[in-house]
């Protein structure tokens, strides 16, 4: 079975993000890294194909930049990469992203498409579901565990109370949570070999894909500054004040 893993290159979360004036689009630096949540997807893909053979292809949309993030995924062991890079895609929303990824994924034969539940820079959290819809395959989401058996996939779907066991036929799209598996560190050899692996770069023209009607970001508002907490001095009755406060917040 071949697995395709959707991965995103994002600006290093350790550095402050900047938005472009007017469009409110994220300014993407030349150096971007692999979104940490995508390491889980890559690892899951590798573990699923390792017993049976088959390949792991990573697919990514966005400016290539230095390609560092893609190479990180290849260094972990993915076989090859598809990169969709097109200046006309700047500022795309979730639906356009899903359409483009679907067009790219559709060029390959696959059993499973794996994606993270949401990216760390955009946080829309809807691309995997849209992707499944466009590909016309089932979407299994929020997986904390994934198993593939002859022609079917079974996941543990994270819920508030615990998890649901969900099974579907293949092919399918699965979105995985952080913690589904422990991502491996690339070996030094993996890092060196990554440079020799194929990265197929496609434009919108190559894909014959179209942008969806766009979402516009009208304004961006800073989150409210955190206010100082309330201090309860203990004159012997602090416990009552704390209980009252917890009750007021409906914690107890």
């Amino acid at each position: 079975m071949n697995v395709i893993v959707c991965v995103k290159q994002i600006p290093d979360p350790a550095t402050p993000y900047r938005l472009e004036e007017g469009t409110n689009w994220l300014i993407r630096p030349e150096e971007q890294i692999l979104d940490d949540t995508d390491r889980y997807g890559v690892e899951m893909g590798l573990q699923l194909v390792e017993p049976s053979g088959g390949t792991v292809t990573v697919v990514s949309m966005g400016p290539a930049g230095s390609g560092q993030g893609i190479r990180q995924a290849l260094a972990m062991g993915a076989d090859d990469a598809i990169l969709i890079e097109d200046t006309s895609l700047r500022g795309s929303d979730a639906l356009t992203t899903a359409r483009v990824l679907a067009a790219a994924v559709g060029r390959r034969e696959f059993g499973l498409v794996i994606a993270g539940t949401e990216s760390t820079d955009g946080y829309s959290g809807v691309v995997p579901q849209m992707l499944a819809e466009i590909l016309d395959v089932p979407a299994l989401t929020y997986a904390t565990k994934v198993e593939v058996d002859e022609g079917s996939v079974t996941i543990h779907r994270q819920t508030v109370a615990g998890y649901d066991v969900v099974t579907s036929s293949l092919p399918a799209v699965v979105s995985v949570t952080a913690g589904v598996v422990e991502p491996r560190y690339p070996t030094f050899k993996g890092i060196m070999d990554a440079k020799k692996k194929s990265i197929e770069t496609l434009s919108m023209g190559d894909l014959g894909a179209e942008r969806a009607p766009e979402q516009l970001v009208l304004s961006i508002v800073d989150a409210a500054e955190r206010t100082a907490g309330r201090k309860i001095e203990d004159d012997g009755d602090a416990h009552e004040a704390i209980v009252a406060l917890l009750a007021e917040r409906k914690v107890i």
């Binding site: 290093d12 260094a75 560190y185 690339p186 070996t187 030094f188 050899k189 890092i191």
Partner: protein
């Protein structure tokens, strides 16, 4: 990427190795290494590092390594050094950069095939035994001797201050094979495996720093090794040692640079957060100026080290440059840590702060692997 990490010496490969090592050290070493300060670095950690290819940077590709050069060693050592646990770092570097090069640089093809893959995989951990109780800086005066017997050699003598001596599976031992020859002409190197009868690590030495590193005194009593364990040619050992010293010095100064840089960062963080006399300590000119000056010196030391490593990777004789690095950075690390402890105040004197530990750990940087005075003489000879 933070400012200042781009360099004409550091291409994509080295940058990737640097990033990878840094992440591994931050996530897998720093949170645990404090516990290793008594008891040593667990073998399981070394095994894991080997699994990630950390021990194969310098080994040829046909033996499971990456065949990279001295620059890679410096970058790797810097990142290990940033762990702030000198004992951990030297445990690794002695294996990868002080001992293994005897095999990679001077071993026969047969010897490499026999041992290198296992060394890269971490199954065979190595040490290098040159120093003796009465011979340190003056390598040519070692007294441990090997005489031919049957199809091999019998070695007698003792070694002092041998890092990994008690935990290594194989120790490269320098011994005199020609008692009649002038000091430097009659030395050979032997691979001695731990289980060889007559070979033992007699004593683990307690130290000022490097607490997680094993430092042993070795005794060799009628240790017989087959001819196949003679590394390279007989009586060429002094030359091998002097050659490998170049890489050794670069690696341990990479460590000292990483340690100094990290200590400085931790100190800057500390003085920015600590208030006295109405403002952060960082606002006192005397403090920020001193730390800025030390940063400039570390940057200079790093460039010097990269250049020396690059020169040696070009196949040039880099002895003068490497000696400059050893003399300059070994002293610098001590100056940096002196200031770091000073500006941490009382906290810098308390056990378990990184600067307290590094203050002790870097003391050896200007002594081990060639004392500053000896290094400056090497420079002077070439001026």
């Amino acid at each position: 990427m933070t400012e200042g990490t781009k360099s004409i010496y550091i291409g994509d490969d080295l940058a990737a190795i640097r990033d990878q090592t840094r992440e591994y050290v931050e996530k897998e070493i720093v949170p645990h290494a404090s516990a290793w300060e008594d008891g040593g670095v667990p073998r399981s950690v070394l095994d894991e590092m080997a699994g990630l290819g950390f021990f194969g940077l310098r080994a040829p590709e046909e033996h499971g390594g990456l065949g990279m050069g001295a620059l890679a060693s410096v970058v790797f050592a810097e990142e290990l050094g940033r762990s702030t646990y000198g004992g951990f770092t030297i445990t690794v570097l002695v294996h990868t950069d002080l001992a293994m090069p005897y095999l990679t640089n001077f071993g026969t093809e047969e010897q490499k095939a026999r041992w290198l893959p296992a060394m890269v995989k971490g199954q065979v951990l190595t040490a290098i035994g040159v120093t003796e109780a009465d011979a340190g800086s003056d390598v040519a005066s070692i007294r441990t001797a090997a005489r031919r017997e049957g199809e091999g050699y019998v070695i007698n003598g003792s070694k002092m201050f041998i890092t990994n001596g008690g935990i290594a599976d194989l120790v490269f031992i320098a011994a005199r094979t020609d008692p009649a020859a002038k000091g430097s002409r009659g030395i050979s190197i032997f691979a001695v495996e731990r289980e060889t009868p007559g070979f033992k690590a007699s004593r683990a030495l307690e130290k000022m720093g490097w607490h997680s590193s094993d430092t042993a005194e070795l005794v060799l009593e009628d240790v017989w090794v087959p001819e196949g364990n003679l590394i390279g040619e007989e009586n060429r050992g002094f030359y091998y040692i002097m050659t490998n010293f170049q890489n050794e010095r670069l690696a341990i100064m990479g460590q000292a640079l990483g340690e100094s840089q990290r200590a400085l960062e931790l100190t800057i963080e500390h003085v920015k957060g600590r208030h006295a006399f109405g403002s952060p300590l960082w606002d006192k000119q005397v403090i920020r100026q001193r730390l800025a000056a030390r940063q400039a010196e570390i940057d200079a030391g790093r460039e010097l080290a990269y250049r020396a490593a690059w020169l040696s990777d070009q196949g040039e004789d880099a002895t003068r440059h490497v000696s400059e690095v050893k003399a300059y950075v070994g002293e610098l690390a001590n100056r940096v840590l002196y200031d770091c402890v000073q500006f941490h105040g009382g906290m810098g004197f308390i056990a378990e702060t990184a600067v307290e530990r590094l203050y002790r750990d870097v003391r050896i940087a200007s002594i081990g692997g060639g004392a500053t005075e000896v290094m400056l003489d090497e420079v002077a000879k070439r001026l």
